[in-house]
Amino acid sequence: MANTVLATPEVPFESRGLDKKQTWWERLRKGDEVVHLITLAGGWSILVITGLLVQHLWVYSRLSRHAFGWHFLVDSTWDPVNGVFGAWPFVYGTVVTSLLALAISIPIGLGAAIFLAELAPRKLSNALTFLIELLAAVPSVIYGLIGIFLLIPVLFNVVPYFQKYFGWLPIFNGTFYGVSYFSASIVLSIMVVPFIISISREVLISVPVSQREAMMALGATKWDVTWRAVVPYARQGIMGSIFLSLARALGETMAVTMVIGNVAQVSTSLMAPGYTIAAVIANEFTEATGDLYLHALIELGLVLFVVTMIFNALARLLMLTMKGHEVVG
């Protein structure tokens, strides 16, 4: 089918302007370099902000760092009047409330995630997950409100019965004032449970079918398959969600401030009022008189920053290795 007829006369290239010199306007309009540079500035501003953040926390905590050194973390005296600052009550309160919150929310969150990923029909699961993720969108100060006016009155009715039977345990004895480590932990557990559910569910869903089939072929029950094949396979992502939740619990401010009692003491009993790092910053920052006081509070911020960054970095690393999972929040 050789075509020997030339249908239309050809157009010489020159007339198509291929050779024409580029005007500066065309060069600018087509200029990828300009756009590259402007967007690069946007991207790098993240690094600048983070760098400034670290620098400011470091510089504005220098008086306290120089005065107390590492003792700052383990001394129990917090006496603004005499200019003696030790952060141990806050560190203790932060660790206790966060760990207790995780102890409550991990089993419940993991259970719900297993139900949503393995048992519930996908449509129902998606709808319920949407609802649960709404929990994560509720502002912290509203959890505090609920904590003060709904949770604590309920606890006043429940805790005495509890203490009647378990009061002999040091962690449950003492007078219950409502505001306490325990109340703060419950509020915190409600706040982090959506993260555990949402991320763990995603991870569980993405476990390949082959992992399940191998055990199902051996006649294992649904629970056996889930608990011995699916969950172990997904443990990295689940650990990631737990670290992320821990970082959030450690840094959570308003809700804890409103229900923990804000007393700078170290108590064995979970029913006693306490304090956390974030709460003391929120309460005393605007009232801090004198540079040393301010610097001590900012050093608390530095401590909080470093600790949450460590757990966040661990969480991201764990989840980075599990490809294809976007982290909520």
Binding site: K30, G31, D32, V35, T39, L40, A41, G42, G43, W44, S45, I46, L47, I49, T50, L53, H56, L57, Y60, I108, G109, G111, A112, F115, L116, L131, I132, L134, L135, A137, V138, P139, S140, V141, I142, G144, L145, I146, L150, V193, P194, I197, T221, D224, L250, T253, M254, M258, A278, I281, A282, F285, T286, I298, L304, T308, N312, R316, V327, G329
Partner: protein, 285 residues
């Protein structure tokens, strides 16, 4: 496989554990519904017209509202968006379209870390950055704090939605003689625009409820706050201050403010998901 396998004990464990996971789900849902229901009940019963139109009444007097806090929150969010959205968009475009190798990794990782900085620490940072040099609290400082907090999510969600635009569309533009930047602005961004808008709306909803960073930046104000250089009231801070106060009148106001704030957030959340759904519908015919 014989009929007796798995053994009865295993079957019982199976049913029990599966039921337990269902109970966990129910528990979480019950907590959610309790919180929403209680807030609705307490909040709606405390609402009235004065709440939206009047500034706070003096301590001990009934009446008054939080008009100044509503206006303050809107101003703070406007300023925060003016800072966070452009930087987030540009950074997202950079990560998705230009960055490669270690530069992309560093920025992405740093963004995720910045997102995890406790909000109270962000408050300290902006206090030292803006409030100390200016010697007073201001709407400006509060807006900057919220704006910085907006950047990570705006950036990462923009990046994700841009990345989801198939390579075939970019090649289609390039093959017609568009430059890379023309392709980005006339094809890639329009194709992802609904997702990007959704991400930004959710981002605004997230910072709208932030309280801790405002305590030492925007501070609070019992009156209206003209301009950008004076301390301002905001809904979250009002909720906090009223909730820990000993006055029942203020508790009522705190519930009403909580109700208004959460309703606003939920409306934004639902509307943004509708925007996303509409975008999906459009791009799939």
């Amino acid at each position: 496989m014989s009929a007796s396998y798995p053994p009865l004990s295993r079957k019982i464990i199976n049913v029990a554990m599966l039921a337990l996971t269902g109970l966990c789900t129910l528990l979480v849902l019950a907590v959610l519904l309790t919180i929403l229901g209680y807030l609705l009940w307490k909040g709606a019963s405390s609402l009235n017209i004065a709440f939206f139109t009047k500034i706070p009444a003096p301590v001990g007097q009934s009446g008054g509202g939080v008009e100044n806090a509503i206006v303050g929150t809107l101003k703070l969010l406007a300023l925060a968006s003016a800072i966070g959205v452009p930087i987030g968009l540009l950074g997202g475009i950079y990560l998705s379209e230009f960055a490669g190798g270690w530069s992309a990794f560093t920025i992405r990782y740093t963004t995720d870390l910045l997102n995890g900085v406790p909000s109270v620490v962000m408050g300290i940072f902006v206090y030292t950055l803006v409030v100390l040099p200016m010697h007073h609290f201001s709407t400006m400082a509060g807006g900057i704090a919220l704006g910085i907090m907006m950047i990570p999510i705006a950036l990462r969600s923009t990046e994700d939605f841009l990345r989801a635009v198939p390579r075939s569309l970019r090649e289609g533009g390039l093959a017609l003689g568009a430059s890379k930047s023309e392709t980005i602005f006339t094809i890639v961004i329009p194709a992802a625009i609904y997702g990007i808008i959704t991400g930004i709306m959710l981002d605004i909803a997230r910072v709208a409820g932030e309280t801790a960073p405002l305590l030492f930046t925007a501070f609070g104000n019992l009156y209206d706050s003209p301009g950008w250089m004076q301390p301002t009231a905001s809904l979250p801070v009002v909720i906090y201050n009223y909730a820990i106060s000993p006055y029942d009148v203020w508790h009522q106001q705190a519930w009403a403010a909580g109700f208004v704030l959460l309703s606003g957030l939920l409306v934004i959340s639902v509307v943004s998901r509708m925007v996303l759904a509409r975008g999906k519908k459009l791009s799939h015919g």
